[in-house]
């Protein structure tokens, strides 16, 4: 009647008396009553773009900043991110706004570098089963945001968390970002059900990413609502000061006003499930 996962997963699965784990994210936390609202552009494109966005999302209610400096792109000719320069811009935005920074790391060799700037290290969907990378971030001092692979089962996802935890890092935030599916009307198929499944089998906090999860601007707010109503501990939303000019993912990025509306709509939902923004 309940959810069953293999008993070979030991660390990422909760015991009968475990409650939800609270993880420190810079000057805030995830896993308690306050939602973690992570917002920012897909890619860090310039100092001005990022700082303006950071200020705007903070004002609208975000309590964490996202932005990619190392970008996994399907083709080598697409914008690959600013690298360390992007990390420096992220750190500067943190200084200005106080928002903790979440950014992706793609290679074991880069973990030390990224750790020097970020508050949370993101493992992207394409690297969910990159085991050398998982082992390396398992020895990092920062929490990990572990995105679900685009066709990973819940067990495989928890198996990847297990790799990180076995190396000693228990601070993992799981992120559902949409599954590969057949209907071209959306970019991915957001598996909202993953949220209550994770809450029932694991103590780890879980967030949803309705931006990648749908790929469609007009669906980001309703799916944020759905995720929080289902029990998510936070959301990860792409916001760009000028979505039409974004170097990546413009079609799914909100502008700051749209993001602000999303937050207003989310507040009563959060309250309805005993949480707050």
């Amino acid at each position: 009647m309940g959810i069953k996962v293999t008993d070979k997963i030991k660390l990422a699965v909760k015991g009968s008396s475990d409650s939800g784990q609270i993880i420190k994210v810079g000057n805030t936390t995830i896993g308690g009553s306050q939602l973690l609202i992570i917002a920012g552009p897909c890619s860090v494109e310039s100092r001005e773009q990022l700082v303006n966005t950071a200020v705007a999302v903070k004002k609208a209610g975000a309590n964490a900043l996202r932005g990619g400096a190392f970008k996994p792109r399907t083709l080598p000719y697409s914008f690959q991110g600013l690298g360390e320069e992007g990390l420096k811009i992220l750190a500067e935005a943190r200084e200005l706004t106080g928002l903790p920074v979440i950014t992706e790391v793609m290679s074991p060799q880069d973990v030390e570098l990224v750790e020097g700037y970020a508050d949370v290290l993101q493992i992207g969907a394409r690297n969910m089963q990159n085991y050398p990378l998982l082992k390396r971030v398992g020895r990092a001092d920062k929490p990990i945001l572990l995105k679900r692979g685009m066709s990973a089962t819940i067990e495989e996802w928890l198996g990847s968390a297990e790799y990180i935890m076995l190396e000693g890092n228990n601070e993992i935030i799981l992120c559902e970002r949409g599954l590969r599916s057949f209907d071209p009307v959306t970019r991915n198929l957001l598996d909202v059900t993953a949220v209550p499944i994770i809450k029932q089998v694991s103590s780890l906090p879980v967030v949803i990413d309705p931006s990648h999860g749908t790929g469609v601007k007009s669906l980001v707010a309703p799916m944020s609502n759905a995720g929080v109503a289902a029990g998510a501990d936070g959301i990860l939303v792409e916001v760009h000061t000028n979505p039409e000019l974004a170097l990546s993912d413009g079609a799914q990025s909100l502008d700051p006003d749209e993001f602000s509306s999303l937050i207003e709509g989310l507040k009563p939902i959060a309250e309805a499930v005993g949480k707050y923004v």
Copy 2:
């Protein structure tokens, strides 16, 4: 930035000035502020089972009764439903409780019979592209609950609604019931995103079925919350007075107490999006 569907679909897609359509369901409605809460067993098994369930779900807050008299089962050896006897029991339960009755019809020849007893005719997922059946119910006098096929695109689903509407029946309630997917942890993958997509492209009301959509009892309440938070006009939930003894779908059926808790949890979510139970 928004959802695009082919402009060949004319009736099932809303015009720029259309608002949501309100459909009469027995003595209640769907599509306005009040949610349609449809509850009942997967199959009508006996007079006692159905009447007891009907009384219990009404008390807990349901305003419509579901129950299958004609059952599409994967194997011919499985319980195939009570047929007309089941329809009579459903009608009797309506007399007793006032709840309008929703039940499946599987064949054009049976439409007249089922119409004589039911308030809403359900087209099941397996018959979403059974075009002779769609055309026949398009000439029925009752609203149609049209379930999405287990791997149907949004366009195909609306195309099926178009078949019904072209015959003259505009009263269609769309029902998302989960897609076929790869993770055995759930029976189907509930596509909650279908809800805001439908609301954005169509005037038709839409409900979700978290029971078939997950196949797991403990996920029914959180996914009901998610569906309503995303904008659904109602939910379709399997409730059985004794799930362990159910002739079909026991693992996903709630008992009346669990259903009552679901409703209590759903109320604040409904309120948060301007609706009520």
Copy 3:
């Protein structure tokens, strides 16, 4: 190590001593050493189109003729087939060429009509779980070509065959026609592995449909080869005298010359697995 299907399926699954079943199809057979090469247009569009195609495919090596008179189309505005007029044209083509005729039936009410003209009744993918239709063709006097649903498991497909067999009709030809999948490069994902699975668990003959299975003309010949190499008892190929003018499925239809080349390429493959065209 081998394939397992539920032991609830009794008729459609072979016993340990069963060999492949041979089914009479008009003046030819399927299930023995000779492949059944079924060719013809997606839809019967006119007497001229069908007769010309029938003559051409026979010359190229086909031993059965396909053509739809009742067409299941996603939208009600698409060409729905010529109905009984199409059936008459098919019968006339049979008179002229001797090729047995395979055509789809979509409704229990039409079975008697279609049976009067066709040599094999086709159940389309969208109707694989239309149980009243399956029961009705189970009482027909003609063999059934049962297409696999677009996201049906092997067990569900055999379950549908079981419905037909339980009514007394044991002459079922299974047809794999491609599954719904995520890559837009093809229309469907042809599951060639279904062929050896069926041969290992069932006595029923199985054919593949590389036209619907790929939706791409240039893939039809190599996938015919693949299917036969994997053990298929035949192929179902769309051929049109003028694919650019086809009322349906032009992009995947071969012209008679291309079909003739396909047959030439298929012959040595057939021989390699102990069969012949």
Copy 4:
């Protein structure tokens, strides 16, 4: 009517005058008339196991040896491979048999090590979009066997090849190994159609892996036939001297006698398409 891929892919897509590329693999080649038959255990478990298997598969007709020394496993508690010790055993087996060695590399840091022992570097399905790894093997001196990700589109797969080629390594063997799908009857869904698609859009050779692609021993031979009939340049088959005792993938491994039968059955198919074993 033909296959279309984005024109942003430049190196991995063939020009109108390009023919198939022939790649040297140790003392043999792939891409010409001779099939590359790669056989061996999933994991290198011991010197004895590997050497015995190598001798047996060579005798049966293999012309390349596979075996994993670094194993990507879903859980950290599963056998992770012998590492460098495994590489040494592979090299020793090559000395004894002359068979070139294909083995997986999972991390940029390990490329130099693995390159010292292997003739072909394998990128596994889970790492198909591990771009730092792709870039690193793009600077290696050995050919790359690039497995398709378990839900990668053809374009994404070619995009990954593009990353490798852009770094200067043009010697890429593509390997279709099965897609994630919904039917538990097989482990994956082998996409045989990927073979003719690749042959039509790219000059790169392509092989299929019917062992991972089905996960079922009895399906390995028929699906090898299907792949070669569809135009594959080779196969990758798991063979173990004692499948029941295998530390990984026993259910899909052939023993040497079964592999020998597979090769005998494959020979006439190869001949039918103008190739040989």
